[in-house]
Symmetry: C2
Amino acid sequence: MELQKPYLLFLGDAADPLAAKVAQGIKQWHPEYCVGQFRLESCQADCGLEDMTIEAAAKAGAKTLVIGVANRGGIISEEWISVLKEALEAGMDLASGLHNRLNDIPELVEVANRAGRKLFDVRYPTQSYPVANGKKRSGKRLLTVGTDCSVGKMYTSLAIEKEMNAQGINVDFRATGQTGILISGNGVSVDCVVADFIAGAIEAISPDNTDDHWDILEGQGSLFHPSFAGVTTGLIHGSQADALVLCHEPTRTHMRGVPEYSLPSIQECMAANLATARLTNPAAHFVGISVNTSQLEEAEALALMDKIETETGLPTVDPFRQGVSRIVECAVREDA
Amino acid sequence: MELQKPYLLFLGDAADPLAAKVAQGIKQWHPEYCVGQFRLESCQADCGLEDMTIEAAAKAGAKTLVIGVANRGGIISEEWISVLKEALEAGMDLASGLHNRLNDIPELVEVANRAGRKLFDVRYPTQSYPVANGKKRSGKRLLTVGTDCSVGKMYTSLAIEKEMNAQGINVDFRATGQTGILISGNGVSVDCVVADFIAGAIEAISPDNTDDHWDILEGQGSLFHPSFAGVTTGLIHGSQADALVLCHEPTRTHMRGVPEYSLPSIQECMAANLATARLTNPAAHFVGISVNTSQLEEAEALALMDKIETETGLPTVDPFRQGVSRIVECAVREDA
């Protein structure tokens, strides 16, 4: 799966800015991939890109229309479909991370076939992956793990990729979820792979590389989440991570979606992730803690990060407040 | 997925007895499910059941023809297909655990539709499962786990079910792989479920039950196998096991299929499984060790089991040599 760039971001009839957070993410991390945005009349979101008609976007070179908005009630409306058909006819592929598949809409399939364009439902793997072989791969790998789901693993991974790029380090972000795939243009939505192939899929998206190259792998779930820890385990094993970054959201009162389950302590979570990671890479070690302090006042946030840094001896940052240069420094130093 | 009983076991053109080990397993554990066997002329296996024509089996009440033999080179031959069609026309469903799907053979699909019969490809889940919710379920659960794949988890689970049944305990075996499903008539092939739903599928096949009821869950893989530990993790979490039994094959020189990976020690393996199991059931504990000593002489086997029993303080048996009554006794006692 490799999306053709540049993109036209489809914001549709987004009910509010949050509904278009996928489009916002693409614009934030890769503005250079975006030629413009397409909005319907009722759209309440804005990525700050030039508003374009399909025709203008095609002329500007857009190769893929990316659906960057959540669809209301899981329905892909007639209004959307007529725009999507126009984009196909103008020579663009379509890419979507929605649950509903573009490939399940006969009208779109028919137009895509006729126009020789592709429909990418990035949530659903289209290729088969081999069973993981566990063989050590060349190159270096960093993986984000979490005390819980949705604590900032993708954001932290993209920030690390960006910082390494800025430092001239040879680096690639490896997406493991639909939003990451739309942002980077490739990857695998690992929680949608058949269970036998979780680790194998991760081995496949992060192949052998040059000794100086870093893959930054986006983690998923948490070893402490009773619904998803199987995915997390296979992802950790397939990654063969050298460097781990723990992501944490300090205001959670319980694991996401399961009120009966409390969060692990930072120390307990690090120990479990290390034990799991060392099965396939005995050299695995932590190089930093990434704390999502968006729910805290600055003074409180800084005090909390100081405390975690003292307890763990690891660079502890909020990527949004402080950037991740101290984590990158630690990863590169430990590797030397 | 619920197969209708009784079965006609299809041994086909088995090249040797091992090729028909699925049929042997069904006959061994549930002879009462089997009305007879069907063999082609070149068949080199024998389950010791009455040889029957399709017509005779149908008259004897067979509801499902179960393919109990591995197909050579992954090909379902014309010779098989003509027998399978005859069985459908005689009113039987078909059940198979092979990689090749019966449902991918148009001739069979056509005859099944016409005859109103079903084709069960038990390796491939046909229903969707919910995401696991982690909520504590009523009833008691025992799960087999392993130092490696293919060390006797299914055999041990079935032996425990049989022993509990013999003791008048309210018990069900819960199959998690294709052979177990064919033996018991239901279950889920958990390594073929979409990764997000591993634990949810296990919650679904082992629902709330009466306080005196035991589910005996068949384990899969190993937490120490770099290819499959994600499946094992989700299975352990979904099982919410009260009682764990560790299965071990002492002559393995490395983890199955991955020569770079050595086996964990019994102690290390128990500790990792306990830590994982306790996320969803803090009361999880080991009640026995099951050692497959088929590769050892009796004296050597007994000495090894003595040693493990002394080290772990747990009943340590080879189910084949000694039965599992001591493990059942420990499970029931610890529960009291």
